[in-house]
């Protein structure tokens, strides 16, 4: 029932409709078309997850470095208390999109196996990879992995 494409579509729906404050808004077509053909890294995080303090600088770096090549990083926050997420973001700024999932329904949908978890979806929407946990020591390896999955640099 939950194929990768359906999951991505659901995510896009939630992404576009779950703005700060969580009010439901109709799907924004611009958002969807913007993310088709991109490599999407979805990272589930929480304010109480200590390794997330270390993962954010790396995610920021990845978004900055490979955004032009088609990487989109989306952080899904699972805090029940929104204020805690806000406090975390003040301490550890995120330079990528944040989506709020306070009820955990998105986490449930994706059957998140641990905190934090990153899912990588390819340009066709297929699930290409999953990482449970964040280790400082594996950053280089994960970056190489992303580089291999990104659309090749188009000569201009």
């Amino acid at each position: 029932m939950h194929t990768s494409i359906h999951r991505l579509a659901l995510l896009m729906l939630l992404l576009s409709s779950t703005v700060l404050g969580g009010s439901a808004v109709a799907a924004d077509p611009l958002e969807l078309s913007q993310n088709r053909g991109k490599l999407v890294l979805v990272d589930f995080w929480a304010s109480w997850c200590a390794p997330c303090r270390h993962s954010f600088p790396w995610l920021n770096e990845m978004q900055a470095k490979y955004g032009d090549r088609g990487l989109v990083v989306i952080g899904v926050n699972v805090d029940r208390d929104h204020k805690l997420a806000e406090q975390f973001l003040r301490d550890v700024p995120a330079r990528f999109k944040i989506v709020y999932d306070p009820s955990g329904s998105l986490a449930q949908n994706y059957d998140v196996p641990g905190m934090p978890t990153s899912f990588v979806f390819g340009t066709d929407g297929k699930l290409l990879g999953k990482h449970i946990g964040f280790q400082q020591g594996s950053r280089a390896e994960r970056e190489t992995e992303l580089q291999k999955l990104l659309p090749p640099v188009q000569p201009n």
Partner: protein
């Protein structure tokens, strides 16, 4: 919000540095502060001029990232005062030879004899390293060392933990081994030999050793969003010199229950017949410990129960509870209650009866007797703006024991049979990061 929540794989020592001596410490800001410190200053004082102890402890932890941690603990203790020697009280004054064999000390009529304990300073150092072995495995190893002038301890420990069920369940196994050297002042006395006059060291022998092997199996289970439970099985095997070289038994008259008198030949010495104790040279203990922590919103309740049994005939139960109650955003108050009860060792004797056959093992050490103990206390904590924490703890400990009815002889019934203990514990703590 406090973000120092990453110590799920930390190990905590319970015994004197026997198993996993790393003490997890909380840093105020995890990123900038790599070293965390937890310090404490403690005063322990018993009533009636008995034991007083002042100790200072520093627990340091260095985070090397990716769940790798180094822990170092240093403790210094100074002990003064005296503890009950095992001899029974009498209607007249009693004189004993001091452990060094060079002097005597006395106990007034009607008082429980306290041994002439000397000032003693102890230092203990423990270190341990913890790291993941694979994603769901955590391994840890540590070393411990402590020294005081009549006792040296050296120990090593290792443990392995594995998570299951999305880290809702953790299974742990640990092993610790220690080797202790005992150098009693004046030499270890020949067990069940008589206390001799000053200068007479005929029944004093040399140093001795003791080995302890500890095994621990544990299951930790997350039961709900607000509750976590832990159950441990522990096994401990000690062998070697397990006696207390300073503890005695009075030899008493079978009719009156009074200590048999003697005259110190040519000088100073005991004015009664006292024998040094003797315990078996091995002891096997087993225990089950169960603990639960439950959050009722902000307050957290901790409840634990431990049952221990050994081949010396001692069974004990310990019930403990604490309730951590936050007061505002930066403070907390935590009342604590502990109830402990133990049965006496098979070879526990309040005194030995003259004329009866000497048992193979005998000890009047109150710590091997039958008693109940209660601790009531409260702890206060305050978090500063920089994220460090001050705390103060005050506790009152009371131990009251019973001598088995069949061991009380005539006049002993009117005297204090068991050296009941009352102690006050005051502790100040400070946690900070660098």
């Amino acid at each position: 919000m406090n973000d120092d929540a990453n110590f799920n794989a930390a190990l905590a020592a319970a015994t004197c540095a026997l198993l996993g001596a790393s003490v997890p410490v909380h840093a105020a800001d995890e990123e900038a502060q790599r070293w965390s410190f937890d310090t404490s200053l403690l005063y322990y004082g018993e009533s009636d001029s008995r034991v007083q102890d002042i100790s200072a402890a520093v627990a340091a932890q260095r985070d090397f990232g990716d769940d790798r941690k180094l822990s170092l603990n240093l403790t210094a203790d100074t002990l003064t005062g005296a503890s009950a020697s095992g001899a029974t009280s009498l209607d007249r004054a009693q004189t004993f030879t001091s452990p060094s064999g060079k002097a005597t000390y006395s106990t007034s009529a009607g008082k429980v004899p306290l041994d002439d304990t000397f000032k003693d300073t102890r230092f203990a150092l423990n270190g341990s390293w913890t790291q993941p072995l694979a994603r769901l495995y955590t391994v840890s190893g540590g070393l411990g060392f402590s020294t005081e002038y009549d006792y040296t301890h050296l120990g090593a420990n290792a443990s392995l933990a594995r998570d299951f069920n999305k880290r809702n369940t953790t299974l742990s196994f640990g092993v610790a081994y220690s080797q202790d050297d005992i150098k009693p002042v004046g030499g270890a006395p020949v067990p069940l030999s008589q206390m001799l006059d000053v200068g007479d060291l005929r029944n004093k022998r040399n140093d001795d050793t003791k080995n302890v092997l500890d095994l621990l199996f544990g299951v930790t289970q997350v039961v709900g969003r607000n509750t976590v439970v832990r159950v441990n099985y522990s096994y401990s095997d000690s062998s070697g010199y397990l006696n207390d070289p300073y503890k005695l038994l009075s030899v008493v008259d079978p009719i009156t229950g009074d200590t048999i008198g003697r005259v110190a030949a040519g000088g100073q010495g005991p004015n009664g017949v006292y024998l040094y104790e003797n315990r078996p040279d091995s002891r096997t203990k087993q225990g089950i410990y169960a603990e639960m922590k439950h959050a009722f919103g902000a307050p957290v309740l901790q409840l634990s129960y431990r049952f221990m049994t050994d081949d010396w005939g001692i069974d004990s139960s310990t019930l403990e509870t604490r309730l951590r109650w936050p007061v505002g955003a930066d403070n907390f108050i935590e009342p604590q209650l502990r109830y402990y009860t133990q049965s006496e060792a098979d070879f526990y004797r309040s005194s030995l009866v003259a004329g009866q056959r000497l048992p193979q093992y005998a000890s009047a050490d109150f710590r091997l007797g039958k008693f109940d103990a209660v601790t009531v206390g409260v702890k206060f904590g305050h978090r500063t703006t920089s994220g460090n924490e001050w705390s103060a703890r005050l506790e009152y400990y009371q131990q009251s024991g019973d001598v088995p009815g069949d061991q009380i002889i005539d006049r002993q019934a009117g005297r204090e049979q068991y050296p009941d203990l009352n102690a006050v514990i005051a502790q100040f703590g400070y946690r900070f990061g660098l």
